[in-house]
């Protein structure tokens, strides 16, 4: 996807829960912005409702959820359901963080299309968004 097309894509990078590990979220937010996407970062310690609200307000195409605290199984489905309930049905959900493989299925069933674990390159994430972000 060219940079001029990417700037039509709004990406919300969110830190749900109490987890304070924001190195990854910030690096990815910056890389996506440098790649040409429009990026909004929620900041830390967001409740699921706050993330849903931000996604709706900004009318985003992509929500990237960063969780390194182990709370992903509780937080991710709640956020995805919340966004879908507002009628935003085509949002691409990505999850990144310390996610044990045995939880991948649960997250994918909940609606997360990709789960990225440590060692993922920024380029892989950019390409996933290019490929999977909804065209509106």
């Amino acid at each position: 996807m060219s940079t001029s097309l990417r700037n039509q894509i709004r990406v919300l990078i969110a830190k749900p829960g109490l987890d304070g590990h924001d190195r990854g979220a910030k690096v990815i937010a910056r890389a996506l912005r440098d790649a040409g996407f429009e990026v909004i970062y929620t900041g830390l310690h967001q409740t699921p409702e706050m993330v849903v609200q931000a996604a709706v307000q900004e009318d985003v195409h992509v929500v990237g959820l960063s969780v390194l605290s182990g709370a992903h199984n509780a937080l991710v489905p709640e956020i995805i359901d919340g966004v879908k309930k507002t009628g935003l049905n085509d949002v691409l959900f990505l999850v990144g963080g310390i996610i044990p493989e045995e939880d991948f299925d649960l997250l994918k069933k909940a609606g997360a299309q990709m789960v990225f674990t440590p060692g993922t390159s920024l380029e892989e994430i950019v390409q996933a968004i290019d490929r999977l972000a909804p065209k509106r």
Binding site: L18, G20, H21, R23, V39, H45, S69, I98, P118, G119
Partner: protein, 557 residues
């Protein structure tokens, strides 16, 4: 000044080297440390002449000012470093079992990891902590949990470290209350509270209150500890999280020391003589992959702190000058890919820590980038330290690399660059101001991004990640899985506590706490009273949040 013999010899050799390099060109254009600091191929006597190296002034002897060579006269011959593995998960009872396992296996100190709700001052039944109870550490909501956590562990004999910051004063109150109930004399209560709130705003991001009242609470614990618990380390000034968030070695060193200086200055403002509280300040650094950079960092840290305490803060006691430090191997260096390789990384990092003269060490387990470590992997990590201590022979020596032309030059370089940062922070009006302005936060974010870019371009290598990848069979490793039943069990336990405690007494204590907060008194005494009445962590924190408000960070990136 005429050219010295050494510099002449060096210059001649450089010419011969250049000639050879025409045939065998260097592998890279730049040779840098992990932190991207450019480094020389070798050191020679000429390097020491250039930096005006003076043995007595710059190194001295182990156990003596400026402590470049370590804080003990006989270093590890007298007492090995403390092997202190950070542990905590699930319920207090589960963590208590892990503590006992580690002690049985020869660990010499305890170190407690708390879960996210506890770190943020919420009880286990708060909706804010949904899904997080017991995940990253142990859940502690009341004095009852604290008692269960340390049940059967002789607190008068084992030193305990507790990694908590935002609500540190409440957890410390619980610890003091528990020790008192066990009948341990106050001077025998030994251990360390992390309690370094500045680095929370900078890096770890588990905060409760705005910066000024949060720092006030830290100074309350320093003041109270100095008066009542003479052997408790009230603050562990921590670079670990700063480094893990992406800082370079120099940034880690500079920001950590600047945080320490802020606590010293605030304590002096409170009216405490520097030599009364400074001996109880301890430090905590990361020990990362770049072997010599790390060794230089530890040596420079001790030298800068000693000079700072003596010259700037006029400390007279040697104990105030000494930078005693714990170190932990670098969590961020661990890879989920080919995780057994992590054992090797940890060993190399631990070796750097010991050669750097640390006083206490945590070695990470190979599976920590996947989940909390299993019993088995924790033991490998502990055994790594035991092998270094008792097989490798390195514990025979104090500062064995001291005097190396290269290591001395690197130590000076790291020191000079850190002092540059400290100067900049001074010009901003000190670390509290710098943090309020987001200065260290932005510097760290820039370094983190720079490093990630270097990884992508393969300018920096992570074996198994951006080089030497191999197809592995999935789920190569058994990991520890914390299920959500602990949330329910802990919540039921807390509900039962609330039903059986004297709620009138609890409310009275909380009201007293509010009154004392309004009067700007030291809050340690009313918090101790409140937790003794089994007020919960969140009840105490909410009382303080009601008065001080909460800290919020914007979504800058």
């Amino acid at each position: 000044m005429s050219e010295s013999k050494n510099s002449k010899l060096r210059a001649e050799w450089e010419k011969r080297r250049e000639a050879v390099e025409k045939k065998v060109p260097p592998r890279n254009v730049r040779f840098t440390t992990l932190s991207d600091m450019e480094v020389p191929l070798l050191g020679t006597p000429d390097d020491l002449e250039k930096i005006g190296f003076d043995y007595e002034r710059d190194l001295g002897f182990p156990g003596e000012y400026p402590y470049t060579r370590g804080v003990q006269h006989n270093m590890y011959r007298g007492k090995l470093w403390t092997m202190r593995q950070f542990a905590g998960f699930s319920s207090p009872e589960e963590t208590n079992k892990r503590f006992k396992l580690l002690l049985e296996q020869g660990q010499t100190g305890l170190s407690t990891a708390f879960d996210m709700p506890t770190l943020m001052g919420y009880d286990c039944d708060s909706p804010k902590g949904k899904g997080e109870v017991g995940k990253c550490g142990v859940s502690v909501s009341s004095l009852q949990d604290m008692e269960d956590l340390f049940k059967g562990i002789p607190l008068g004999e084992v030193t305990t470290s507790m990694t908590i910051n935002g609500p540190a004063i409440v957890i410390l109150a619980m610890y003091y209350a528990m020790a008192e109930k066990q009948g341990i004399p106050k001077e025998k209560v030994r251990g360390t509270l992390q309690n370094d709130i500045l680095k929370e705003y900078i890096a770890q991001k588990e905060w409760l209150f705005p910066i000024a009242p949060a720092v006030k609470l830290v100074i309350d614990t320093i003041e109270y500890g100095t008066q009542h618990y003479p052997n408790w380390n009230t603050v562990s000034i921590s670079g670990y999280h700063i480094r893990e968030a992406g800082a370079t070695a120099v940034q880690e060193l500079a920001f950590t020391l600047a945080d320490g200086m802020a606590y010293v200055e605030e304590s002096i403002k409170r009216g405490m003589p520097v030599d009364e509280f400074a001996p109880r300040l301890s430090f905590f650094f990361d020990v990362h992959n770049d072997f010599f950079e790390e060794i230089a960092k530890f040596r420079a840290a001790r030298r800068i702190w000693a000079r700072m305490m003596k010259d700037r803060y006029k400390a007279k006691s040697q104990k105030s000058w000494m930078l005693r430090t714990h170190a932990q191997t670098a969590g961020v260096s661990l890879t989920a890919q080919q995780p057994v390789n992590n054992v090797v990384r940890v060993a190399v990092q631990a070796l750097a820590g010991v050669l750097g003269g640390v006083n206490s060490l945590h070695t990470n387990s190979m599976d920590e980038t996947l989940a909390l470590p299993t019993d088995e992997s924790v033991l490998v990590a502990l055994r790594t330290q035991q092998i270094l201590a008792e097989e490798s022979g390195i514990a025979n020596y104090a500062d064995p690399l001291g005097g190396s032309y290269l290591v001395e030059a690197l130590t000076n370089k790291v020191e000079a660059e850190a002092l540059e940062y400290i100067k900049k922070i001074d010009e901003m009006g000190g670390m509290v101001k710098a943090v309020e302005n987001g200065y260290p936060q932005a510097e760290i974010a820039n370094s983190a991004y720079h490093f990630q870019r270097q990884l992508e371009k393969k300018e920096k290598v992570m074996v198994g990640v951006n080089r030497y990848q191999s197809e592995e069979k999935k789920r190569a490793m058994e990991t520890l899985y914390i299920d959500r039943s602990v949330e329910k069990r802990q919540s039921d336990k807390l509900a039962a506590l609330r039903a059986k405690r004297d709620n009138v007494a609890v409310n009275k204590c909380l009201a007293q706490l509010k009154t004392d907060a309004e009067a700007n008194k030291n809050l340690m005494p009313p918090i101790i009273e409140a937790v003794k009445a089994y007020a919960t962590l969140q009840e105490v924190c909410d009382t303080l949040r009601g008065f001080y408000g909460e800290y919020r960070e914007d979504g800058k990136f």
